[in-house]
Amino acid sequence: MQSIASYAWLVPLFPFVAFAVLLAFGRGFRTSGIVVGSAGSAASLIMSLLVLAERLGTNADDYNAGFEWIAIGEFTLRMGFEVTNLTTLMLVVVSLVSFLVNIFSAGYMRDDERITVFYAYVALFVSAMLALVLADNLLTFYFFWELVGVCSFLLIGFWYAKPEAKKAAKKAFVVTRIGDAGLLIGILLLFWHMPNRSLAFTDISNLFGQPGMADSGMTTLIALLLFLGAVGKSGQFPLHVWLPDAMEGPTPISALIHAATMVAAGVFLVARTYDIFLASPAAMDTVAFIGAFTALFAATIAVAQNDIKRILAYSTVSQLGYMMIALGLGSLAGGIFHLFTHAFFKALLFLGAGSVIHAVHTQDIREMGGLGARMKLTAWTFAIGALALAGIPPLSGFWSKDAILTAALAGHPALFAVGLLTALFTAFYMARLFFLVFAGKPKTGARAHESPAVMTVPLVLLAVPAIAAGFVEMPWNGWLGEWLTGTAEETHGGSLAFVASTAVGLLGIYLGWAVYAKGSIRRDAVSSRMPWLLRALERKYYIDEAYQRVAVRPLLALGRGLQAVDDYVVEGIVRFAGWSAIAFGRAGIRLQNGQAQTYGLTAVIGLLVLAALFVGRRFW
């Protein structure tokens, strides 16, 4: 009997078929659009679970299949898919989250008249993302990488009537393009560098796994360029600026694309080409330090934001930084583990935020408050997500964060300190968010009420893995790491990390509670003493302004200059060509006046010219 893995190519196909159907019928159907879109991702989910079940049962070999895509001479490009434990895990995460988001959107987007278009875009995204996960070589990977980028662009700008949404979509597209350019160059270098011109992940892994490849300049360069792509996609500093702005899109999109799946693609890329990074210590350090810097940096910004989705967005950036720390420290399992748990609890938080926004029609947490009493289910599930994110045992986020902190403690004490500090900020801003939104007295939205079941059921379903997903890997049980990498990762008694991260998480929550719920610490305790700090945090460290000045305006000026060249020089030449033809024609019209005498005169002049030419030829 053939293995189920050999049918894994069906997983991205289902949503693609849904996309095609939705595209074909367009606005013709509304409710059926929801059904078609959800059915596509449901089929993917079932298929992914079947693949997972097969791979859990036996110690299955990786399955790889494909076909020749392009053959040029003796060189061929393949397109294929590969089922490994890592890709299986990602398949399940992506299809599960996308299925629940599909369900949630049925409630959230109910009144939007372009809901079918929305479902079509989502289906295309899900299809591209699943295909990206399954891709067996870098080129196919890149292809779908760009496709998810396009879907992200389309969905951020889904409400294109809003100028901010349009701007945000463009910004996301342009900023990630910088990273994509790096990735493309990296792929080309790799292609040039590989002995048999193969871009398959297995070949890359085999080549760079050899000791001879270690630490050559080329290896480092390739690794850094690939990482640049990951930086763009995963919103790492300095290319993080697009992710918070991407929150202009519909909230389910923020949950699906900009929290759980697409932004994790960068982490997945690093994990997929991990052997290249392992061969270059410099690249590993870069990954770890960029990740650490981003984690802390984004967490501090999140403290001072007032938009519920932006807080979560910066939190996403920060948590992606965590994953990068783990990868940079050589803990593949830790990074992927955090990706795995983060996908669930962050999707849960975003969908919870969506439920809140749906109820009160504002995103400003200062205008919310007291929603806990009226939206019990949302509040409870949101609390679970927030606690998981804050790293409180025994929720999933704690275990994955603990795995990373343990790795950091063993690898680099500075990174451990940064990680702990970030965890403190994380717990604090989540407490602030939670207490401002759900506790206290109601401010506006007196008519706020719980969202319909179609929105709360996905919350509950996501809350389950947000609680339990962490149990696959614990300090005394390295099951996930062993399953992913084949070797049991050393888990040397991280009791220090264990205690420290719990303590820091609780401290952060206590501080948040004391400031924003109990009021025993005045809210302006810090800001009144250091107003510049608050301002800097609120303005996100002036990064956007700096980019505006350093990159955007010079580029715009250059663009305007080039446009002027195009308008006046290039177009001038074209216009002159047209104008001269017209002028020639006008002169012809004047000659062609029907007067026989004019024709005669012209003929005589022509004769004289000819004569002059013949005579003149003698003299030169």
């Binding site: 062609q592 006046n593 029907g594 005498q597 024709y599 005669g600 005589v604």
Partner: protein
């Protein structure tokens, strides 16, 4: 001798050309064309008498030209009369049918 005949013929031709191109009256234009033809005839005769290989051919050709010119004048004047009848004018610049 030859050059003086040729000069006379050239002057005649130029006067004829000028008249044909400039005069508004179609009758005068016809006269001018006759002048140019006669200038050509003068050349033919001059070359037949004083040219490099004198022969009768020039004279015979001239006779042909004169007869053709007579026919041309008859046809031209007939056309002019027809034009005058239909348009009421013989001003050549008012005839621009070729433009359309």
């Amino acid at each position: 001798m030859l050059s003086s005949y040729l000069t006379l013929a050239a002057i005649l031709f130029c006067i004829g050309l000028y008249g044909a191109l400039v005069k508004r009256n179609a009758v005068v234009v016809l006269f001018s064309i006759e002048l140019m033809l006669n200038a050509v005839n003068l050349n033919l005769i001059a070359f037949a008498k004083y040219g490099a290989a004198p022969s009768l051919t020039g004279h015979i050709f001239t006779l042909f030209t004169i007869s053709v010119a007579a026919a041309e004048a008859a046809v031209g004047v007939a056309v002019l009369i027809a034009l005058f009848r239909s348009r009421g004018t013989v001003n050549i610049d008012e005839f621009d049918e070729m433009r359309r």
